[in-house]
Symmetry: C2
Subunit: 445 residues, 2 copies
């Protein structure tokens, strides 16, 4: 039988609260700390990107039987709605019946905390954890970093405290701790498309809306109340940038010229634009993720990624799936649980970081690249005809629970094949011919 442990989870975000539910399921005593007030009692911040829950996320929720409750606050999106300046195209995400699900981060987080409390986890809000003593799993909290601190001793501590984790901050100061943080030169800003007067959605409800424009783009994800949460991704500096859009006329002119079909649906454009903060995008990698049998990092605290694959939360939830597998396998041997957990997850976290960064590059530079578009057309044609021979990378990442690292490796292999295909004579003319199809079949052997 497993020993009951006294466990602290630092961070009451999505990963922290789901982890609390899993730890309670395993019978442990669980305290969750957060420096912020209870999100159930405050207004949302105006700086979030809506979530796109996909297979890995659902798998982690279903395993503790809360998937169905969360499905009630999720809206399926089976396609991209691509808003070009002069037309609107639709593109299915996967096969018939495959969807990703839009969920408001705030609404989901509130629900998850309710569920964790119902499972018996105790939450402590407005508790600032400044430091941790790794060897005895003791948290140090207090009003200010330099003021008096109180010690809270646990058997185990989980750092689920996000990209700027204080728990990791302490681990970083050890020797042999690899660490990197890299910011993108683009930021993001939340905007809003309100519901119609009758509560219906102003745009197609079951689409992930995207206005791709090369170096910048706008996306919109549906909310339950008929509104859409929009996110504008844009360089900080340069011609089309947050810096250049510095007054009401320039924002209005920019949207009228480049995003004309948004004018009617974003009524509070300039108000939101100047009230909402411009947030940064960071990729953070580190290793190790754990310290002896005492402390472990999880979610964004161990691998913060850019949001362009919609996998941040899904990857964090999958961390929990794998951690729990190791708990079931190694029981009370937490040192082994932790080391097998980090060994299993690190290559996959690196893979989804790489895939997410590549998607940023694709969206910002390759959408205008003729070769790239041709490649996508050929892949689509072949994949539709031979679905078992060519699962697109997006589907491997989104509609599967096979390791991210495998998806990346197979994706690279598929790219090598397509590189050869694109070098065929007259490929522009013959791209949809039997000759090309046979060439791919041959290369796949």
């Amino acid at each position: 039988m497993q020993n009951i442990k006294k466990i602290a989870v630092v961070g009451s975000g999505l990963v922290g609260s789901l982890l609390a539910i899993y730890l309670r399921k395993a019978g442990h005593q669980v305290h969750v700390y957060d420096r912020s007030p209870d999100i159930r009692k405050i207004q949302f911040s105006g700086r979030s990107i809506n979530l796109a829950m996909s297979n890995r996320g659902w798998k982690a929720l279903d395993a503790v039987e809360i998937g169905d409750v969360i499905r009630e606050i999720a809206i399926p999106m089976d396609k991209r709605a691509i808003h070009l300046v002069d037309k609107l195209n639709f593109q299915n995400y996967g096969q018939e019946g495959e969807s990703i699900y839009s969920i408001s981060r705030g609404i989901l987080n509130r629900k998850m905390i309710d569920l964790a409390e119902a499972a018996g986890a105790e939450f402590f809000f407005e508790q600032k954890i400044w430091d941790v003593s790794l060897d005895d799993a003791t948290l140090h909290s207090g009003e200010t970093e330099r003021g008096a601190w109180e010690d809270k001793k646990y058997d185990l501590v989980f750092g689920a405290d996000g990209a700027f984790s204080r728990i990791r901050h302490r681990m970083q100061r050890q020797s042999m701790f690899d660490y990197s943080q890299e910011f993108l030169p683009i930021g993001y800003k939340e905007l809003n498309i309100p519901a119609n007067a009758d509560g219906t959605h102003k745009l197609d409800k079951n689409s992930f809306h995207i206005w791709p424009r090369g170096e910048y783009m706008l996306i919109a994800l549906p909310n339950l109340d008929g509104s859409f949460t929009c996110t504008l991704f844009m360089p900080f500096e340069g011609e089309n940038s947050f810096q250049s859009l510095n007054d009401i006329p320039s924002v209005e002119a920019f949207f009228e010229k480049n995003l004309p079909d948004t004018i009617d649906v974003i009524p509070k454009l300039t108000e939101d634009f100047f009230n909402n903060p411009t947030s940064t995008l960071v990729t953070m990698k580190c290793f190790p993720w754990t310290y002896k049998d005492k402390v472990a990092l999880i979610g964004d605290a161990s691998h913060a990624i850019v949001p362009f694959y919609g996998q941040g939360m899904n990857a964090g939830f999958e961390d929990i799936t794998v951690l729990y597998e190791m708990m079931e396998k190694y029981g009370d041997d937490w040192k082994t649980v932790f080391s097998e957990y980090e060994k299993s997850r690190k290559p996959n976290a690196d893979a989804i970081a790489e895939l997410s960064y590549r998607n940023f590059l694709e969206m910002s530079s390759k959408t205008a690249d003729e070769n790239f578009l041709l490649q996508k057309k050929i892949e689509k044609l072949f994949s539709d005809k031979y679905p078992e021979k060519w699962i697109p990378l997006y589907s491997r990442v989104t509609f599967s629970d096979r390791p991210y690292a495998e998806a990346l490796a197979i994706g690279d292999y598929q790219n090598e094949i397509m590189e050869k295909v694109l070098k065929m004579d007259n490929i522009n003319q013959i791209w949809d011919s039997v000759e090309v199809e046979n060439k791919i079949l041959e290369l796949l052997k």
Copy 2:
């Protein structure tokens, strides 16, 4: 005329003390802080690697007319002495008259502090700087990190406080600060070859001695007193590792078997092996290096590299050369001085980090690679015949003051050429033929 500034330099190492001399030359008031005791009053630590001063280092010293004083404590090394298990080979570093110079880190550091004090800089030892307020260039010092702090206000602060810089630590916590630290899986340990009874050197004095053994290696650099400072680089774990050499018999057996010609010259082998610490090797990169016109990082604090190109100190001294160029160009406009300094140095710091890391890979894996050795032979032959057409990468880095980034780019270009040459039919037989020579000449066009 330039305004006199009150400037703090954090760190009294080689870069900190040379920077102090330059800032005094420009007429500023200079305070240098160090958390350690005055190195002139204590014994050395037994954890240093001897320095190899080359062109970039001498240039920075000569510009403030202290090169000749330092040359008195330097020993020229014009060649590698390569100790194979059964024979000894010599390999010149460059052309006739080109040498790198062995200097004991401790002796150089003491001398540099003397010179900086003579130039009017004030040194404050055993002063722990825990934090800095970036906006007003104020240092915070105290006995302990959590105890009472004293504020020291300056006009400018330089962080010359090494790879684990506290000044950078504060900058790191800003948004948009890119940062990475990556440890090698190998460590190093200092050993010692004492002088003969008559004060002469036991091995050739004017050689950089190296015992290359693939995954591990030993080096020895001459000291003025007739001794050599040796450094053993070796994996932490695995077959031949610090972990596996865990008692006196295993160390003795290992040296007898693999480094037989060192047995007679390292009398206190096991004593030093178990008394001296095993140190780590880290590559640290970050950006930006400066904050407004207030704070700047320099030397290892902005770019810590692994020691396998012998360029760590040289790169740090070159930072000062470039900083001073910018001071002369932009005078009192410190914001521009700082931004032009970091813009100029960052790509070169990245380049020497890359080159140093590649040298580690070369030494640990490629020394046994037949193709690699053949490439080196072909390059050497060609370079000897056409010295103006093919300056080897090592010379570009070591005997030149052209930018590191240029050396890296030309080195990559040379590698591309050699890749094609190595693909020639029968290259193993014809490597020293006119045919190969002509092929290189053609590819260089």
